[in-house]
Symmetry: C2
Subunit: 321 residues, 2 copies
């Protein structure tokens, strides 16, 4: 039987000499210890954070690997049990399971528990949580707000590689982490969750959940769909004549189907709008090629995009992506 | 006045102790000394080839930079003059200038001159050369074949960065170089051109010109068009929320507008077919997302592409493309 900490070790947040801000959370539970969850555990260790990391997941083998890699200190069989002894829970499961995991953590955690997540969509998760609140009966809060101690987050880091074996302690260094707090968000939970992501090396940016989903549909979800469509057009034989452009355009096509199906479905409306923009731009470029041979219009469109890309700076100290 | 070699140095091809095959061409002219042409010059030096490299180009500053970087030994003011003293000419100009450069080199070169190119399209260049032959009057060959001493080539390496300052001596190492010889191709020219690209580290593959254009439309030209369309949809403000997927999907959008306008126009028919395939696949994926929540069809399509991408191997010893 796993022995859970009954008396959490003292917080390290009061250590004035610490080189960086550490979260005031002696016990953190990671739900879903794959690439993201595992990198969170390793990142906390790298940052010198000295609390206890509990891991919860459906696959015992994965949890064992996470412990062997040092991403978690202890595997706990149920989220309810882990949440009960935690100060902060970070939910790193696929986006279609996040709302249920958040609700479960809040239902079983202490009053001061703060909960965050790492999901690639935000509005759908918050909507599901509000619906759960409405249908949970008289014991739940009677407004339709999302839970006040849940601070939805999205660290903009990941990889086409899945699993704790690909976790990295520098995955979040220098990356933007979007938070989508609301007027009902508890200030203490917001502070604790902010410190948590900052400890991992993230730069925090607050956005409205719908604005997050609009932007990420363009910068991440649409690119993944495009990568898959492109890779799907090119046969193994034709791949022999592929080089750098193909390599880069299709890298994320190798990502997990289930994870991406859930993300794209959860952000369907914004994805459709992004897709319409993309198709229109593709049509414009194609039509501008007809303007033979000068194609001033084509070069104008191309240069506009080229200049944006050249002006973009992205150099997190960690590795791709 | 530039002093051109009147008595070419002895060929190094007879040196039995040479570590790799060297071309039997004491004087090589590079026409267009940018990223590709410059990398050819540096690559020949890296391979230990000891002939003379002449450079021809429209921009004197660029030729001076090429000489400073050691990519060429000498700049020559006109292609006619350089070709006259060359054993091999490699044309690295934009695809809409290649046919004219090839014809000019052949018109002014010695009988044994072999000519090759590095253009990203093949059928249009060969067609233009045949048309030039037909209209050149009674002194030209009377069949409608492309010139027999021109061996069209396409080394599958490049970069979104332009100019000799980005040239690399390892750009071609381990890369496929497609040759598109025809029944009229001179065997001696074919052998010399083959040895040339092999000296640079390429693996040679022969294809029909139309087959080359069909495959490259999918593996290179379509990805460039997609990259530009995607980058064009994302505003500078939204770019702040971009990470690895955006970085990779849009890298080649920063490529030169004129070069790519010419390539896409020259391969328009194959590009249109590739674009139709891509749109159809995108439509399939989008429609399969409706199949909420299981989306078995979506995951099947996604996994097919993901598996192809994971099975693809690409690890040239040189740097990214």
């Amino acid at each position: 039987m796993i022995e859970l900490p009954s008396d959490p070790p003292p917080s390290t947040a009061t250590a004035q000499t610490a080189p960086q801000p550490h979260i005031a959370a002696p016990v953190v539970t990671i739900v879903g210890v794959g690439l993201i969850g595992g990198s969170i555990g390793l990142g906390l260790k790298r940052a010198g954070w000295r609390g206890t990391i509990l891991g919860v997941g459906r696959d015992p083998q994965c949890l064992q690997n996470a412990r062997r890699r040092g991403a978690i200190d202890q595997a706990v069989p149920t989220l309810a049990r882990a949440a009960a002894v935690s100060d902060l829970v970070v939910v790193c499961t696929p986006v279609d399971r996040i709302a249920a995991n958040v609700a479960e953590a809040l239902a079983h955690g202490p009053d001061h528990l703060a909960v965050t997540d790492a999901g690639s969509v935000k509005a759908a998760i918050l909507r599901d949580l509000r619906l759960m609140g409405e249908t949970a009966g008289p014991r739940s809060r009677n407004d339709a707000s999302a839970p006040s101690r849940f601070v939805a987050a999205h660290p903009l880091a990941g990889s086409e590689l899945a699993g704790v074996e690909h976790a990295r302690d520098d995955l979040f260094l220098g990356r933007v982490c979007v938070l989508t707090p609301s007027p009902v968000t508890d200030p203490d939970a917001l502070e604790r969750v902010s410190a948590f992501w900052t400890t991992l090396g993230c730069r925090l940016v607050s956005l409205d959940p719908e604005e997050h989903d609009r932007v990420l549909a363009l910068t991440s979800h649409l690119p993944h769909l495009i990568a898959s469509a492109l890779a799907g057009c090119i046969t193994p034989r034709d791949q022999d004549f592929a080089a750098g452009a193909y390599r880069d355009l299709t890298r994320v096509a190798a990502a997990d189907a289930g994870l991406w199906r859930a993300i794209l479905q959860a952000n369907r409306a914004a994805l459709d709008r992004a897709l319409d923009l993309f198709r229109a731009r593709l049509d414009q470029l194609r039509a501008a090629l007809d303007d033979h041979p000068s194609a001033t219009r084509f070069e104008h469109l191309w240069n506009e995009a080229a200049q944006r890309r050249r002006d973009w700076t992205f150099d997190p100290p960690g590795q791709p992506d």
